[in-house]
Every structure is written in structure tokens, then in C-alpha cells.
Symmetry: C2
Subunit: 328 residues, 2 copies
Amino acid sequence: MKLASLKHGRDGRLVVVTDDLTLMASVDDIAPTMQAALDDWPCVSPRLADRAAALSAGDNAQAMEFDPVACAAPLPRAYQWADGSVYLNHMELVRKARGAELPASFLTDALMYQGGSDIMLGARDDIEVIDEEWGIDLEAEIAIITDDVPMGIVPDGAAGHIKLVLLANDVSLRNLIPTELGKGFGFFQSKPATSFSPVVVTPDSLGDAWDGRKMHGAVDVTVNDQRLGNLEAGADMYFDFAQLISHAARTRHLGAGTIVGSGTVSNRDRSRGSGCLAENRTIETIETGTPKTPFLKFGDRVTIDMRDAAGASIFGGIDQKIMRYTPR
Amino acid sequence: MKLASLKHGRDGRLVVVTDDLTLMASVDDIAPTMQAALDDWPCVSPRLADRAAALSAGDNAQAMEFDPVACAAPLPRAYQWADGSVYLNHMELVRKARGAELPASFLTDALMYQGGSDIMLGARDDIEVIDEEWGIDLEAEIAIITDDVPMGIVPDGAAGHIKLVLLANDVSLRNLIPTELGKGFGFFQSKPATSFSPVVVTPDSLGDAWDGRKMHGAVDVTVNDQRLGNLEAGADMYFDFAQLISHAARTRHLGAGTIVGSGTVSNRDRSRGSGCLAENRTIETIETGTPKTPFLKFGDRVTIDMRDAAGASIFGGIDQKIMRYTPR
């Protein structure tokens, strides 16, 4: 089953979408919003699946054309965005560029930060930034959404709480990060609103691309129509989503609608490119002593997408422009 | 005007409460939840104020007895919990105990971390913790709730976005903090669910206790009925709430219902005591080389309250027990 939130009020309007992303159907009578569906997933999801099946079977009385441009983020505001960093290659490169080793604890204890979740961007929304000099970067990530997760759950139990899979663009302001992390309290200003794919997919609809704990397949990333990365999502994911959920739930329950991110997808095979500009700059620094790739400028366009074996977009694709925001 | 959320479903049920916290009235016909009220504050708040005024005037047809025990957190789940640390005395002590100076930047750039907000505890809810050895501590804080705040707002503009004032217990797991902060991504496991006072108050109902940007008056903190602190909230608050909101909104819009915290209230006058056990332990370390005050144990009780000149509780008081949680 595939779902999306149309732009509507603060929380969007939930719709079911055909697997080929061409048609959608209203589900107002089942659940008005994605959050409402997640709050009551055991009851609601079978009814949504029935509606999706009817739509796919040609019950076109309710069918409307699906347009990703009309979509908000699947959860336009969420109660939790817990973003991991589980592609060790990315972290190793960043440290290598500054002459440091990866701490041994990074192999046993997942990295995760608490992200802002009060305003999430739709897949086609502009990324508004006040100052180009802040070092605007994209980060191509896989993410999942959970139902209610009890405190202290182990990874084997956590896997069953993965209800939806999606893509994320964890927009980062690189030049604000050193000062902010130096203060010791983690990211705040350096992580503005995050963007998500138009469509979320239930694990059972992902076929072989989902192994129960992680996503497989190529993540295509472009900047101004140039390929930045064609990354294999499953290849170098050191901690899987079940482990990330268990990590997040170590000392507290997690509410339904918790979004958990993988961190920037990154492969050891450098021919696959990068999921963010910072990684390119890091490789350039290691190889030549100086970063060459610029960060994003106003007007630049970034895309993140995954396609199935037939070349069709699975999640509808993220496609955003960087725009200047002027405070009033 | 004073408001509370009765325990009901995931988001509570909004009620207005008399200033003396004895009576409450239903506002189901105006706004079902605190979040719904904040989403439409300019329209909703005058109607809530009318209901509160009628209740205070003796319109007892709708009046019910108010009981803080029946209260959830004002926002039982919130879209944002942005917690500052603006009592420099607290930070200076922590650093002094380990022989470090306060960085000069701390005087110009507020400290703030992104807290988990998917599950908030009511003022009388138990604090469930799996392991006593994690170093369970309370943190007595003042907090405010905003409406929608635009990106890049300056402090003078931010002050007008403070819609509600409340108390917080920012529960911390001290023994998990060094490892977690050492990883560089800020707090996650070391900050379990936060607790809030039963009642929120509009700034105009706080009289002289609210100066437009910060709270004044004594915060009483006890552990097992022993006084831990009787702290003056306004005395040593280095950054005020307008500055904290401006800090949080530097690179992004803030959604209605954003909760902003002050960090542990802390006074330079040591006769006022402490707002958390860690500060006592820090002072003991500075004075004797060894911390003596233990962290909280299962069964321990903590209270946080502020009283007006007549001795009446302003926010209804936080009163919680630490309880062991055993994962299933």
C-alpha cells in the first residue's frame, strides 16, 4: 500500500495512491490524516488497504489523478524525528579529512540526534534559507515511520513496529555545524526543516527492496541535473532500522508517528558517488587538500529518488529548489 | 486565563481553570485540545477567556471541581520541545567542577537542545526508568508555549509569540550524558520524557510575576519532602524567552505549540539551593572533592511548584515518583 498527504491545513489530507503513482483515492471516511491513521493503525490500515486494492482494481468512481506537487510531507508536522547516522563510510570520511579515527564505540552504539519535527517540507516545496553563506547541503536518507513503541524494546521486537518507509532530504547548514556541535548540545540551527518523499510505502509493498529491517536498491541523487550519487541503500548500512528504533527507545516509549532516519546514504564504492555535498568535499580534501564542490546556492535544484526494476519511482521523488528567505 | 488538559485519548481534553485552581469548565465547543487552541489562537483564545471569566464570575452551571491528578501534560504530545540552558551559574558550576572555564561564546550564543516531544508526562505521572544506575535527576525549569513563529524573528518580535507559561521537570539520566554528548550529536537517551505542570497560564494573568520576557518569583523544589531549592526564577536568567525563541527560529519557522524551556533554574546565591541534584553534587565536588548527594532512587518523590504572594500555587505543581519500568 502507498499513501500520501495532500496539502490541506496543518496536517494534510490522507489519500491512498496506486503502486504506479498515477491515481489516488480519498480516505476521508477512514482516517482524515496520516497521523490519525498511525494513531489507530491496527484498525485503520486494513481499511486503507482495501481502498487501495479497490483503486488498483479499477474502482475508478473514486479515482483522481495523483500529482506529487500537491503533496505535503507525509506527516506535515510530526511528534518525533529521530535521525540516525548509520553509514559508517560517511563518518569515516569526515573524520579522515580532519585526521581523526572513528571511535570504536561507533561500531556498537548507534549515532542519533533529535531532529526538529514541528514543520516538515513536502517533496516539491522550496528550501527557504536566509543566508547562502551558511553552507546549504542536502542529505539523501531512507526513513521509516513507527506505531507506538514500548521503552526498552530489543531490535527483534522493534522490526515489527516499522509501518511505513519513505525518503528524506535532511537539509543541513554545514557552516553552522562546527560552532553548534562545539557547544555540546547537538544540532539545532544547523538542521532546518527536513523534506520527505511525497509517498510512503508499507513494507509488504516493497517486495525484495525491503528485507524486514532495511531498504535495498539505488538512491539517485542529483544537483542541478548532474548526478551526485547513485547509492546502494542496503550495501553499507551498519545499523538497521530495527536497531535504530531499539536505540531510540532505550530510555523512553516512542509515540505513534515517530520518524526514524538512516543518515546520509553512503557507499564505500566511490564510483557510486555521494548522498550529500559535504562528502564530496571531504573526499576532495583527502585527495587534494582542498574542497572544490561548492555548497548549494539560491536557485539550485536537488532531487532524490529510488526506482524499481522497471524504472518507476517508488516514493515519487524529492525535487526541491533552494530559495532565499527574507525575514519580515 | 489558566488552562489544563485532562487525561483523555492521546491529546487530552482542554478545560479552563479558575485562577485559584479550584474549579474548571469544559470548552469542548470552543477547542477540543490545547494544540487545537494554539493552532487558531487569535480566534480561540478570546472565547476561552470569556469562558474562564464566566467560570470565575460564578457561572457554576458548567463548573466542575479541578483536580491536578486528572491532568495530562498541557500538550500530552507536542511538535517541538526546544530546551535552553540560560542560567549561567549552573553551567559555570558544572565546568568549575571539572576545572574548565565557561566559553566566552556562551555569553552571546544561547545553549539549546532539541528535546523529544512525542510523549510528555503529566504533573502527577510516575517517572518510569528501567535502571536506577542511569543517574536519575530532576531539573526544575520555567517553560513557555508559542504560536506560529516566523523564521529569522528578532527578540523584540519574538516576545509577542509567548502565549502560555508553565513549569517543566526536564528529567535527565546523568550517567548516560557523558557518553552521549561525547558522540557529538547531543542528548537522546539521556533525556527521557519531560514532565509539565498541570496548568498553563497566559502572560497577562501572571501579573508582576511576568515581565514580558521572563518569570519572576520563587521556584520551590523538594526531594522526598526535603527542600532542594527555593530559587528566584528571574534573578540569574541570562537569556530571556524572547531571545530563546529568536535563537530557535534563526534558520526555520517554528510551529504553533512549540514549547521552549529555560534549562535548570539556578541562582548565584547558594542559600537558594539547587534545581537539580547534579548541581548539588557539583558544589560538593568543588568543595570537598567528592559528590555526596545521591541521584534519585525508585520510590523517591520530587516536587516543583511556584506560589503567588498569597501562597497559592500558580501552575498546580509537579509532584512525581520515580518508578521502575520492566520491559516486556
